[in-house]
Amino acid sequence: MKRIGLVFNGVWSQYAVATAPKYRELYDLVYIHELTAARIATLDALVIPFQSNQPALEARKDVLYGFLAQGKKIAVFGDSTPLWLDAQWEDRPVNNYWWVKTPDQPPIAHTDATHPVYAGLQPRHACWHIHGVYTRIPDNSRVIQRNAEQEVVTWETECYGGTLFASTLDPMVEHGIQQIRHLDRYVDRLTTWLCGETPSGAFTIDPASYGVRAIPGVATGAPAGVGVN
């Protein structure tokens, strides 16, 4: 049974994770233009990945906070806007080559390894690259990761009922791309934390999931008013 909704902006790397045999029994693609309270009612958690549609998230802000108010979890990755998330994200140059040029200076300098997502992860597996930082986070939030300048990379709060986790890492998109080969470790721990089940095996691709004219769970390429013409 699918337990986690992956808020889906039609991006292929997001699709690749949710349709990979390793993850497809747990992750449900929830197309952003179909995101309603009824659509996500049976899910335990939501993941809002990097490369999400920020204006569309703002339009569905009430649905997201209603989900949290039920005591459920939402994990947000990459950038965001204060129009739907009460925090200030700021862009920074993406250093995705540090492991070539300065392997002793990763983009994250401090990680709270007591958090379940990070417990047991090697530093390399807890940090590949980041997309910006947070310069303001909600009161009573817990900071989980910082960069060398002490800027916030990952934080968490329970002030909305459930648990809101936010990070400028991009595990789902990069795992789908498959150019960073160690992300099973992070995504598997994240999955376990979100729903209590741990995926097993290697990340593989099912060719039958590509070149499709209809996407399971999405209304035949014509979601919520995005009509087939």
Partner: protein
């Protein structure tokens, strides 16, 4: 003046790679509920890296009509849905990027003129692979421009499937990246060569 539409699914930073100048005028076409884009004033439609292939599937007939009318499509993103006429993108993770060596197979339109292929293979930070993922199964008769180590299509130009022009990459991003530090003989040069070709093509056909 070329008129281009950039499909936008709400990603931040998109306008930085597609800024209007004296050669090309861009407009952003935002995907919204009841999306029904009108491409009738456009010479070129760009599906940038990270675009929404669910919404594009929903308008596949509209896109086909635009192409059959002589329009140009540039898709720089892996189209896992079947909206690109005649060609298919295949996601493949069987080879690590350190094994990727891209080479030119054909270039009828000079898209790689003045381009240092070494900068496609290893970027200025020492990263290999141009972020291309998987490969393209090209339409019969389409021009395979760039291939990878295993001879698989990475850049395709298709002028036979429709009445228009398609430039497709295996998800390798293209744009005018000079504003973010690109040199004049790398990825951005291919994009500018593409715009030059399409400008000439538009002048000839109108």
């Amino acid at each position: 003046m070329l008129h281009a539409t950039v499909i936008s699914n709400g990603l931040s930073g998109l306008p930085r790679a597609y800024t209007s100048d004296d050669r090309i005028r861009y407009r952003l076409e935002a995907i919204v509920p009841a999306w029904a884009p009108d491409f009738s004033d456009d010479d070129l439609v760009i599906a940038p890296n990270g675009t929404d292939h669910v919404a594009l599937l929903a308008i596949r007939e509209r896109m086909r009509a635009f192409l059959d009318d002589g329009g140009a499509l540039a898709c720089f993103c892996g189209w896992f849905t079947d909206w690109v006429p005649g060609n298919r993108w295949v996601h493949d993770n069987s080879h690590p990027t350190r094994e990727v060596e891209l080479r030119l197979a054909s270039d009828r339109h000079g898209l790689f003129a003045g381009v240092d292929l070494g900068k496609f293979n290893v970027d200025r930070h020492g990263i290999r692979g141009w972020w291309a993922c998987g490969y393209i199964e090209p339409a019969p008769g389409a021009e395979v421009v760039l291939v990878d180590t295993w001879g698989r299509a990475i850049v395709v130009v298709d002028e036979v499937t429709t009445g228009g022009f398609q430039l497709l990459t295996a998800s390798g991003p293209l744009g005018d990246y000079r504003r973010v530090g690109d040199t004049d003989d790398g990825i951005g040069r291919v994009y500018r060569n593409l715009i030059s070709h399409l400008t000439h093509r538009t002048l000839v056909t109108t």
